[in-house]
Symmetry: D2
Subunit: 419 residues, 4 copies
């Protein structure tokens, strides 16, 4: 159930309306031996006929948080264009450098965003607003939002960002300021519940394949070449998996969802040395969140965003591989590729550009109707409204019994399990 | 309801099975004021536990028909790999040059497809099997299929191809030969019912945007520059629409779903000259099937595939634009771009590569279970089995009241209608 | 011998000077049986210690003329940056829409070019100044240049442009106005004397190869596929030749330097049908200026730039091919590619970007030293000053006895001559 | 003076011959106040009329050594094609895994290279022959070459490779076996004397710019973002310099030719912090061989090829930057990019493809004429024969007083010197 700031008394200047009563269920698969359990129902996103805000009086704010992801500028651009062009909102403000920019003490002066200031930005990676990790100082931010008379805030970011966004809404409400907070989910890892595909993911695949192509060329041109490519994927291996299927040149794909043993018969290193003995080279892709259980169980630090700092599986695996080959007296030419920042800064490809545009415009429609404490989702191919609490209730992971992971195993021919 | 050749008595060598009883409905939107009408239910695609065929005895055939589309080689490759690697089928035959290759009188000797013959083909556009337009000679083809003891035929192609595929199944049945015919829907236009997205479409967007970028650069560098880009889209404007959203540099998008008037106040030409007077240049994208009603209503020829031959809207529109500018004494520098074949021959991008792989593997699973007269579909993000008759019952078009087309109009700022 | 406006009395604010006395010869090959004939000697380009103009008082103008070419914006940007950054020139004016922009009656208001107005332009194809074909109206332009107190004019363009540039200098001189006119040679065809490689040529090769790849995929996927690709090259086949070597997938390369017969034994059509009979497909690349002698010898029209309008060899050849196949009763699937405008509008690749930057900066150095009636050249890998009259005295063509053309014939395996 | 195995008694089956008497001088600049010193004269490369070897009896070998470089497969392909196609040589053998493959004890069985085995290899990065670092065991290799009756050996590699090549020739001669050894110079660093541009360099620029674009996007999207990109360049900064000019987004370019001080007023760190204070971000490109004097002067190890192992300037600089910012209490978001292997494994771009083809074919012509102890060079735009001893007599570096480095300083606006 989506929270709304209040009754919608203003008529929309747009057309093609969607009703709050149209809904889709989380679960659409039916089977005779199972009770029909639709799970949560989500209202459809899209323009509403009746608005909570009077468009020409709206002051909107935009903020981008966390790590870079292809498409951030596209989202900013389409938010600005829909606000200005679709609703004739007069003031749109871009807060700079993530949540830090909401706090005036950081001296990141906000940008006024007009039509021309976003003209070509979708052709560039990164975010013109800047970004940072780290939580929002609720009091300072709320004070600032109220002082600047911001009516709606679009928060483009991941888990922490959406959690902070909801806290902002609640604190504003406590102070009697009606702030619509609408999130656009951002994670290059594609691991958000109720979002079929987050923007940036497909662009990341392209760039990852580009690097895997190089890694493959390198591996097969040297004596016992092993190319190890670390890709994004803190809790879910979608990028590693998708790049494996797209490339068809990866021989081992290690993801967080499938724990693996390094040593011993049936372990990863034994499989790798066997492959190299047999074929002379190998390409290994590892998601950054894979194999975390291989590190000593010590208290883990967290980063500024509150995420547990992952141990770096890349160099760890490289070392294990080198030791494994040495133990077998097998020469090894190991090449390590860590293209993370390169991938994150790439401009959006076409499908991501379309996705960004559609996410952004649905976010504006929702905010105009006074929806708050929600993010825009994309379920079964349909844009929806998702309560922030629901989207934060878990995370999407690879279904290792599903067709997608089957395609990975068919492509790389690795065993179901190592060890 | 999917036709099956007979009872499934063989055990699958695979795992991760899907049951025929799991289904998803065509319609998932629920609204309180409407009765819940799920529409047709579709069984889920995926590996079956019980097979009609005994895998090691299977002889499979593959044929690609109609115009080129990014991803054809990916589909061929994954069919071969799933047959050989997933089921250990021993004989896979590639019929050459479309349906013409089923008829021995055309002397297109089929290729035996083994693991190594498809190794790198996914990195290339086109189809290693070759393709052609034109119907299948049922009698000759059936004779040949029976003689070659082909058990299953994978038909990669559009409407006409799937229609022919079904006819082949029926004719074989009449002759007492159990042929599983499974289609993989192929159309760069993305206009197939019960298929969220056909392979090749996203790659086409990338290549189309590449050409639109050039067209935009050209148009804005010359005096009153108008760049006219003809894109694919016989009956549906998905490519023109998607490229418009992705590029954000298109000013007019003409698609089959939205008829337009050329002349007079409110017509397209008046809008174009107004834009050029105001901004000095314009980019126009036209789908090949747009504006067909502007041509004289005469009996239309059909091509070898039985498709009505479209009139060529590109040069027609170029002429109309030139005349319109001349009538207003407005200088014009017109550049015409017709990148159709260039787009069709591009290798698949990552998402299309993934899509091709998954379509192909589900096609193999279906055929092994003896399903026939069907194509693999993709509905609400889920791979399904669709009876061929149902997929041929209509075509997908742009919903001009929907969010996607709204994004197009927001990007190009063109009026809802011309005239 | 380079014309100079007068004595150089101002000291340069720069360093790393080159002397007017340093020269390189046109001909560097020595052979014992030949007298050593160096041909013309050219002074080296680069910064001069003594300047004719007092930099802070200079008013500079820039104009781009003729067809688009990758790198135009790079040249504009580096001219502006060298003028502002290297010499602290205060006023730089961009005349718009080619020579037409020098004539105030055309109402193309010039742009004032400052550091920030050229910031990102090198990432885009086209020219921000606009361009057009057509001669300069000397009287109107000179009047305008004098009125605007323009001291130096950078003319980026081909033959006609440089000819006009020289006329401007002479007319200014007759009116007592010291105008330094320095040309930057621009032709995508790479056919300028004393210029090893014109900017845009290498980018054109990349884009041409991209289209040839598609053409090759198309040709080999259809029955008797012939892909015909028309590329730039009015009088010289450098693009067709370079793309052939780079691609290695072209079977026939037709250039202006090598006349060919279409019909009869030994003719092009016979060679093409033989290839298709043998291999099933062929890729043909034709430069736009090839085969002009195959058209009826009638008086030829000229375009606005005064260039003889070429007959369109592309459709002509397509027709001849179709007729040739028909005459032999050989089925044919012909695909025609005409990517000219697409190639011309591409942003510069790295090597062209470097070339543009270096051409532009040497042009500024030359103008500051009061050199006029000259263009910047690039001979034996060295930037030089070339009198405009000398650069217009002929054109560079493929040496059909040389190593480059030998590489073409080795790649495509075509006979030395057709007919 | 090029060494020749003996008199040329066989007639060439080719045409378009070049004479040994045609020569170009190393130095072509003339100045009145300097005596005309042409320096060494080099004979032109190209097909010779008279050959030392009888082509149909030739057995040729090819070996690729050292690190990967874009274009290796193009060179292999054109060697094979020129040998088979141009001279009808019957046996071409590819030795595998660098010089290690010449020694049978390493069990790298050579490949027989025929026309079809190199068909599509130019489209892939890496080398199909494989490569390795490390010297050649002269005795074992010579024994093997004699046993296999190899007449000519094409050695594609850098300094150490060419040195080894010459030693092979001499040892064969001592054993009475006439081996023509012809080198194709390979270094991605572009630092070979008498070679205007080595193959792979331009492709490296493109890929480097691609990474710099990402680095720039990253740097300007975060708080005080510094992107540090390490590029190739052991002794010469051509890649760092060229990528700076092409990108125009680099702020600091550190190369081996220009020593720099890190600390203190006028040092690099002070300049960097000043830039970040002023502009909020910076992009730093460092060649791998830059700043080696900043490391303690201890005895240096050498790699298997005998090259001194460079200290890794990347992490060293990253640490220095972090300390410098910390010392000034300036927040820093540092991103480090190390794309070396990615760049080395990229397929050749068009200009490199052309270059590879032409280098390879001239190498074949030279070997056929019995030239030995030489490499193919490219001077003043002309392919030449260079004695191996001469090419090893030094290395090419950036001329820091020249026009190219001036363009770098104009692009990045860095001071001439740090400290």
């Amino acid at each position: 159930m989506i929270t709304t700031l209040g009754p919608c008394k203003h008529l929309s200047p747009r057309s093609g309306f969607v009703s709050d009563d149209e809904k889709i269920p989380a679960n659409i698969v039916r089977a005779p031996d199972r009770p029909d359990d639709p799970g949560p129902l989500f209202e459809l996103a899209g323009p509403r006929e009746h608005l909570y805000f009077d468009p020409p009086r709206v002051r909107a704010g935009i903020v981008t948080c966390g790590g870079l992801c292809p498409g951030l500028n596209n989202v900013i651009r389409s938010l600005v264009r829909e606000l200005h062009g679709g609703y004739e909102v007069r003031e749109v403000i871009g807060f700079r450098m993530g949540y830090g920019g909401l706090d005036p003490r950081n001296h990141h002066e906000p940008m006024v965003l007009v039509h021309s200031s976003v003209d070509d930005i979708h052709q560039q990676g990164g975010t013109i607003l800047g970004t940072s990790r780290g939580p929002v100082d609720i009091d300072a931010a709320v004070e600032n939002l109220i002082r600047r008379k911001i009516d709606m805030l679009f928060c483009i970011g991941g888990d922490g960002t959406q959690r902070g966004a909801y806290a902002l809404y609640e604190a504003c409400k406590a102070r009697g300021h009606a702030l619509a907070v609408v999130g656009v989910p951002k994670t290059i890892d594609n691991d958000v519940l109720y979002v079929d595909r987050t923007f940036g993911y497909l662009t990341a695949l392209e760039e990852a394949r580009h690097v895997i192509d190089a890694a493959h060329n390198e591996a097969r041109s040297v004596v016992n070449g092993v190319a190890l490519v670390k890709l994004m994927g803190r809790h879910a291996g979608f990028i590693a998996a998708g790049a494996t299927i797209a490339s068809q040149d990866v021989n081992f794909t290690l993801v967080p969802e499938v724990p693996f043993r390094l040593d011993g018969k049936g372990g990863f290193v034994a499989a790798l040395t066997a492959r190299v003995r047999d074929r002379g080279h190998a390409v290994v892709v590892v998601a950054e969140g894979a194999g975390q259980d291989l590190f000593p169980a010590e208290p883990r630090a967290t980063d500024a965003s509150g995420n547990v700092k992952l141990k770096d599986i890349g160099p760890f695996l490289a070392k294990a591989i080198a030791e494994g080959f040495a133990a077998e007296n097998l020469p090894l030419t190991l090449r390590y590729f860590d293209p993370g920042y390169q991938i994150r800064s790439t401009p959006a490809n076409c499908e991501d550009a379309v996705l960004c545009d559609m996410f952004a415009r649905q976010a504006v429609h929702a905010a105009m109707a006074g929806k708050t404490g929600m993010v825009v989702g994309l379920l079964h191919g349909t844009f929806i409204h998702v309560p922030t609490s629901l989207i934060l209730s878990g995370a999407k992971q690879l279904d290792t019994d599903g067709l997608f992971w089957h395609s990975v195993l068919a492509a790389n021919q690795q065993p179901d399990r190592f060890g």
